[in-house]
């Protein structure tokens, strides 16, 4: 039977984190929190006679993204009107870019199953966001706080061949936007939205078949679920002799299904034409060069450095750079004189485990990087052993107290003092004559059991190395006697 593969391209709409809107001075606010219609003005509500003026910072952010995605930053920029009627679009058109976008012809490398794949970036162009509609049954209410917020639309080539690649692309792009400081990446606030263009074809062929477009995917999880459903739907359709129709689909979160919004008969007819209210925008080469110099270290470069200079595993380095805040946390810890691999182990191991269990992000973690280093130092100084340290970290995570405080409060300091340990070992040997005899008789495996009894007596606080050493000396002494 024929195997099928999906052909997927993504459009990502990213709000730019500017102070003011794209074409007016209204503040950009959290549109999920701000009281309705409190950051609006005659420009973004399309009162007669107003004129838009381009926000320089939004252009600069767009250039940053273009450069980070290896795009050509086009010298000649022209805004265009995209006409359609919807109540959240007061002008009856959206100011966007059409024939002359800000950036084009770039790429983004993603890693899936230990393989790097290069996904083409067709273009990135600036536009303005729409307002929001709240549906109330018999009517809809319109809030224009979000109308006019700068939006960068990043369009990929149809280069993705699996849902895993779609997810990797979305996560990588999100990480880059956050690293660049142009978007805070919090999808629950609607600052990052996805559209997927999906078609299917026999695996390995180079056909480009009819595609559907799934709009308004507001989380990576929705993007993944919708893509999975739509690919399966199309394959099933084709296998049963049907044909995919070019359609715009929506995704229903509850049912997990894609549903038709518009079919081709009502295909978008946006009647683009140059925006007469905005003169052309020429992007000065010197400006681009200056912006390029301000680009921060991006995830790929950081990962390479973590591997090459710090000796981290590919896996650990990848996990640490995937989120900007995590990378910053890790690097803040390294300011102290501490082994990078040890810090990486603690962050990607115990700290991530606690974060997952509590459902918190690293920004909310009460254990500061410095506090984590203090904990590691206590292990290095053999004040506590590794297992106790895990308990201490858990307490730090819950209370925000320092490792030193917790060790002191709970009396967790490791017992390394040999005279104290000798006494406990003596007790254990006396209390267990049978296992001791069997050990001396050749059952070597009982050594671990005897050490375990000592650890139990000391609630795990005995220094295992010291216990091992004394225990062996004592037992060898008994063998000779």
């Amino acid at each position: 039977m024929t195997q099928y593969e999906p052909v997927i391209g993504l459009e990502v709409h990213a709000e730019m984190l500017t102070e003011s809107k794209m074409f007016c001075a209204c503040p950009v606010v959290d549109s999920t929190e701000a009281p309705p219609n409190t950051t609006v003005c005659p420009v973004c509500t399309a009162q007669p006679g107003v004129l838009p003026v381009i926000n320089r910072q939004a252009v600069e952010y767009g250039i940053k993204v273009g450069l980070a995605l290896n795009c050509t930053i086009n010298e000649f920029n022209q805004f265009a009107r995209k006409s359609y009627f919807y109540p959240d679009l007061p002008k009856g058109y959206q100011i966007s870019q059409y024939e002359h976008p800000l950036a084009s012809n770039g790429w983004l490398d993603i890693d899936v199953d230990d393989e790097t794949r290069r996904i083409g970036i067709t273009r990135a162009h600036l536009e303005e966001d729409t307002g929001k509609n709240i549906h109330m049954g018999s009517s809809s209410l319109v809030d224009l706080n979000r109308a006019g917020v700068p939006l960068l639309e990043i369009v990929s080539e149809p280069d993705m061949r699996s849902v895993e690649e779609v997810e990797a692309y979305a996560r990588k792009l999100r990480a880059i936007l956050v690293y660049l400081g142009v978007n805070h990446g919090d999808m629950s606030k609607g600052v990052l939205r996805f559209e997927a263009n999906i078609s299917v074809r026999p695996t390995g062929s180079d056909e480009m078949n009819t595609r559907t477009e799934i709009k308004n995917l507001n989380s990576i999880r929705s993007l993944v679920r919708a893509s999975q459903y739509e690919i399966a739907r199309q394959i099933k359709l084709v296998e049963s002799g049907g044909q995919v129709i070019q359609q715009t689909m929506g995704f229903n979160e509850e049912s997990g299904k894609t549903t038709v919004q518009r079919s081709k008969e009502y295909a978008d007819d946006y009647r683009y034409f140059p925006e007469p209210d905005l003169p052309p925008l020429n992007i000065d080469r010197a400006w681009v060069a200056a912006i390029e110099k301000t680009l921060p270290e991006l995830p790929d470069a950081k990962r390479e450095r973590f591997i090459d200079e710090l000796g981290l595993s590919v896996q650990d380095a990848g996990v640490l750079v995937a989120d900007k805040a995590t990378a910053e946390y890790f690097e803040a810890a390294l300011k102290a004189d501490v082994d990078a691999k040890t810090v990486a182990n603690w962050v990607t191991g115990e700290l991530f485990r606690l974060m997952n269990a509590a459902g918190v992000e690293i920004e909310q973690v009460k254990v500061t990087p410095e506090a984590l280093v203090d904990l590691i130092k206590l292990v290095e100084a053999e004040t506590i052993n590794n297992n106790t340290a895990k308990e201490v970290l858990e307490a730090m995570f819950e209370t925000g107290h320092s490792a030193g405080e917790i060790v002191k409060e709970q009396g967790l300091a490791q017992i390394s003092d040999s005279s104290a340990l000798e006494a406990i070992i003596e007790q254990v040997l006396e209390a267990n004559p049978e296992p001791v005899e069997k050990y001396l008789g050749g059952k070597e495996g009982l050594f671990g059991w005897l050490v375990g009894q000592v650890m139990k007596e000391t609630r795990g606080q005995a220094n295992a190395t010291v216990v091992n050493q004394i225990m062996r000396e004592r037992l060898e002494g008994m063998r000779k006697a």
């Binding site: 500017t18 102070e19 003011s20 007016c24 001075a25 209204c26 503040p27 950009v28 009281p35 309705p36 219609n37 409190t38 950051t39 609006v40 003005c41 005659p42 420009v43 973004c44 509500t45 003026v53 381009i54 926000n55 320089r56 910072q57 939004a58 252009v59 022209q78 006409s83 359609y84 009627f85 919807y86 109540p87 509609n133 709240i134 549906h135 109330m136 049954g137 018999s138 009517s139 809809s140 209410l141 319109v142 809030d143 224009l144 929506g250 919004q261 009502y266 007819d269 009647r271 140059p274 007469p276 905005l278 003169p279 052309p280 925008l281 020429n282 000065d284």
Partner: protein, 95 residues
Amino acid sequence: MTLSLEQVTHIAELARLALTDEEKERFRDQLSAILDYAARLQEIDTSAIPPMANVLPVDTVMRDDVARLGLPPEQILANSPDQEDNMFRVPVILE
């Protein structure tokens, strides 16, 4: 050039206008005449002339990213035919 009835219907739909059959016929004639008039421009050879992006002799006008509050909701909503909770109320939108 005469527009087809389908074209007139399509344009009406894009403009969210509900036209009667009689109106479609009438507007077909009127729109066709307007387009014929504008089509005279096509006779000019513009192959050697770069497209004009703007009529003003300026380009690259940008403003600094400084936020300033606009108008209070009452003023923005003052001309709206219907409102609720400081929002514009519009006929129900089918998603």
